[in-house]
């Protein structure tokens, strides 16, 4: 990686004010998500990873949703009217006034990489160009601006689809919408641009202007087609997601994770998965998840923002904001919710819901049960149909169960309530008072019998 680009060196400017009408959406196009992350945040990731410290994002007048999604990663500048990319860029003039170079990125290229950004900037600086832009050869260039070159290969023009004759339409090298400019030149050039027939100003006309002025224009051709996919509608959004998923899956397979039918496995960025873990079909591993080694996750499982220890197994279940130790088994058809900790060797079978609770190591919850707001010790057996009655209509209340307790089937634990170590509750008991260590609690409501467990 090149040295960091400070604000005085370079400002990245992301053009995110465009309407995106083909998305047919109330959500601005740059805030649609690819693999769980907004397009704009993906571009900002690439910008930051390429070493650029300062960015400006051009947004429409109402940019509340941008602030919510992006926070203060970037400075927002408003383009009040839809007057073209050149006009959009001009809105950054003040914010970028101290920079020597500017990097411009269209706000619809979610897969652009930091490496390509760095290469473009390096080339620009090395060649001392006035303008440098990224190009790519497309099998189907339809809709993109074509790069026209002289016989010697120098750039002659960028011609938009609408202005292209049939010969130009056959050109496969296209403009990707990523530019590096010499800053002083670009700001004055932008002000001298002539509007189009629809009174819009285009960045591509800056290239024409530089050429007219006999200034140096360079291009960087990338062969990574996927980096330059631009998202104009939801079909392209799905394509971008498919390409990114393909890369993410390949990365994990290469690092020693088995994916059975990779195309049905959805792995977001920002996760970690250990060697020799197998992920089975139709499984989602979402941001903030850490999965250990030798695990089996799936099929039909969602793991979101959760930690799972080595040698654990989760099938047909949903795990959210939870922490599972080693050799934990969950599923099928169970739901482990926020704030849950399942310690080592915990077994959760089918149709269980566990919320904001801790199950100590070796404890078992084999069959349909609802455990909420509970602290459960080690080696506890929770019978089928156990329910923590943790809600009185107003407050969520605590249940505490000691080590080695045996909770009979269909026990109602009316919180707040404590069940002691080695205590036993009877089948169908309604436990509305504390059960001392080693006692038996039987009936509805319960009677306490001391020393019940042999």
């Amino acid at each position: 990686m090149t040295r960091p680009f400070l604000a005085k060196d370079l400002t990245a400017i992301i053009l995110a004010a465009g309407g995106g009408s083909r998305m047919k959406s109330q959500t601005p196009k740059p805030l649609h998500k690819v693999c769980g992350k907004e397009i704009l945040n993906m571009i900002l990731d690439a910008v930051e990873l390429s070493g650029i410290e300062y960015s400006v994002t051009i947004v429409p007048s109402d940019y509340k949703l941008f602030e919510i999604s992006v926070g203060n990663r970037t400075r927002f500048e408003v383009q009040g009217q839809a007057k073209g990319t050149g006009h959009a860029l001009l809105q950054a003039k003040k914010a970028a006034k101290n920079s020597q170079f500017i990097l411009v990125l269209n706000g619809d290229i979610p897969l652009i990489s930091p490496e390509t950004i760095s290469q473009l900037i390096s080339l620009h600086q090395e060649k001392e160009s006035t303008a440098t832009f990224l190009t790519n050869r497309k099998d189907n260039p339809l809709g993109s601006g074509r790069v026209i070159r002289t016989h010697k290969g120098a750039v002659e023009a960028i011609v938009e689809e609408r202005d292209a004759d049939s010969e130009i339409k056959d050109v496969t090298e296209v403009n990707c919408g990523v530019y590096c400019f010499e800053a002083p030149w670009v700001w004055s050039a932008l002000e001298s641009l002539k509007p189009s027939s629809t009174n819009e100003f285009y960045i591509t006309d800056l290239i024409a202007l530089a050429l007219e002025q006999n200034l140096r224009v360079e291009t960087l051709e990338t062969d990574r087609q996927e980096e330059t996919i631009n998202v104009n509608d939801r079909i392209q959004l799905a394509e971008a997601e498919a390409l990114l998923q393909q890369n993410i899956r390949a990365k994990w397979m290469k690092s020693g994770v088995t994916l059975v039918d990779p195309t049905s496995i959805y792995i977001e960025q920002g996760v970690d998965i250990g060697e020799d873990t197998s992920i089975l079909p139709n499984t989602h591993i979402q941001q903030g998840s850490t999965i250990g080694r030798n695990c089996q996750i799936g099929p039909d499982t969602t793991v979101k923002a959760s930690a799972i220890g080595d040698k654990s197994k989760v099938t047909h279940s949903v795990i959210e904001n939870a922490s599972l130790g080693t050799k934990v088994s969950v599923g099928p058809f169970s739901r482990i919710r926020a704030g849950t900790v399942l310690e080592n060797n915990v077994y959760v079978g089918n149709h269980a819901e566990i919320k904001n609770s801790t199950l100590g190591s070796e404890s078992k919850c084999g069959h349909f049960s609802y455990i909420g707001d509970a602290i459960i010790g080690t080696n506890v057996n929770l019978g089928a149909g156990t329910i923590t009655c943790n809600y009185d209509g107003v407050t969520k209340l605590k249940t505490v169960i000691g080590n080695n307790a045996f909770i009979g089937s269909n026990t109602m634990l009316v919180a707040p309530v404590n069940v002691g170590e080695n205590a036993v509750t009877g089948t169908g008991s309604i436990v509305n008072k504390n059960v001392p260590d080693g006692a038996r609690a039987i009936g509805a409501p319960v009677r306490i019998i001391q020393g019940g467990r042999s």
Copy 2:
């Protein structure tokens, strides 16, 4: 669309009597389904949408299954013996006797479009042809009849695979099995056809005959390969379904619906989905479903013949013949069955089954429960393990619960029973008598305590 074709103008004849032995099935080939609809019904849809009012379907002797699937959309005529397509067509002579034109369609082309049918008929009428048929260029023409042309491009013959030499096998233009004929000519021509060595009569020989008679034969070449896929085995059945699904998905993405991993989302025809709704992987949206805007449906969800209001969320669940209001949340692992109405802001969590019941707005059924044949007011809380005991072994019985009631965990509601407004039932209570408004019902069986809820 052209003007409607009345019975006196044109009869569509669908050849659906063929054995379809490669399907290896007890179900006749035209009754196998593509995206939930029988091939024959798909062809009849296209015929009707192209403006044709009258159709005859040639069926085998035992056509009970055809009647069940197709009803009276078409007139059935029986081909008693498997003597070829020409013999099949002849069985429609009487039924089509008043028509000036006939349109013939093989009963194995599920994706034929009304537009192509209309174009074929228009071309036939415009050119005043004796016969006009649809052709298509196939990358792999193996198995199809090849269209042989003169140097000037006129049709010379259709040669079936079995009669083709290696030069003819290289021809990529194939006969798609959709024909338009001048009616008087075709009926007499059919009777003059010579049988094949296996004593069968072929429609393709009609083309040869017309050419011999120096009558006009036209072709319409379509470039929409998918329209002309013919289904002879279950691999082709799967291919037809994949092609149709691809079109349906593209349509919804273009209209503003996000599909995450579109290839894993199964959308039947006859549904509606609002803008900015996201559908997550492994989700089925089936016929008769209407999904509002800004919903999130899936992953792992089936919605069948149900209405879902705006901003609702359904995950890992099955919804059948139900109606959900706005901002309803269901799942994971819940099942909403026929006759259920979930009003606005209802929350159904995990492992719930709700059948033939109404839950008023703001009501909650968070955890495993069975609610059947119940009318539940607004803002009711149903505790974990609530069961409507709606079946006495003979009859299904009603449960009615008033607004703001609080149903404790593991309450058994022994129907028929009413629980009043603001009433409370205790944990583990067996409610076998009515509970007045504002009362508490405790125990098994319950005692009623007036004014129980503070």
Copy 3:
């Protein structure tokens, strides 16, 4: 198939000692699974099906995992040092000393077929070659040894990627790592091989040696690319699985099974599926399963080592080591576990778990329930929330229910316990003593009322 190859004729030698470092795994590469079966077992299947009775597998020093996975299907010989394929082969000399021919297979080609093996041996014998090897043309030959030929087409050499110049890299015919050798020659030739610069010995040098000695070297070119895929990393592992799945799916579709979205259906080898059964998306049919005719299995279903009778329907469920009769219905969200028998016409609805139990014909378990270690008669109705309390913390205990019994909702069956024929249990009853035929059992714990059911 050719006649069987006895040990004295031919020994198959599988080279399975390689490190497989690109798998990044604690599991040796040949023991990674494709469609549920270890690569080595797949190769041994092909070897055995081609009629070869005797095989030797070259393994690393620590081959415990090989023994566990492969058992005594093959004789193990250890290669103590990683000194190349030639050195590996030499370790089999003693074990194969009586054979006239040897067949050598790299241990990373899971999809090699018995037919191709047989053809290679036949060709070798027919031509009386010294060495015969399998070749294949690859679109992307990168990484494979290229087969260099004279103008007349005779083999000249095998050149490994690392030794290939750019001209040789353009050669698309590659060595597949399957060889047949004349045994006496190969053993002496191996001992005369010269080591590489890294002190390794290569089988490919045997080919060079035979050519130098003017001995006959033949090749068999196969056009079945999928057979020769070799698995070096988990991406190739996934590709091999995808190819095998594709073949398996095609086989079942051709035999009369409808697969809706075949790419999402996972069928292992060693299963049987009847005609006119439909399998819906995201469904797994695993080894040892037998599914009848006219069934509907899926979506979102796993069937493992289970038998399912005709006309049964299973949706969104997991069936393991169980037996289902005809017209059985299960799901959604149910789990049928080992040792369960569901007789004809049994209905299991949602959120049920049934383990090691028999449900007699016509019995129903419609809603959330846990049935374990129970024998249940015919026409029994199990109410919602029924639980067999089959575990006292020490032992699993039996529940027996007679024909036509009616088990009320939320009944706890405290095993060991018998409920007689035509008996009824009340809602919420705790059945801790036997219920005679025709009696009613009410309360917690139950009182018995004779002749209760009208």
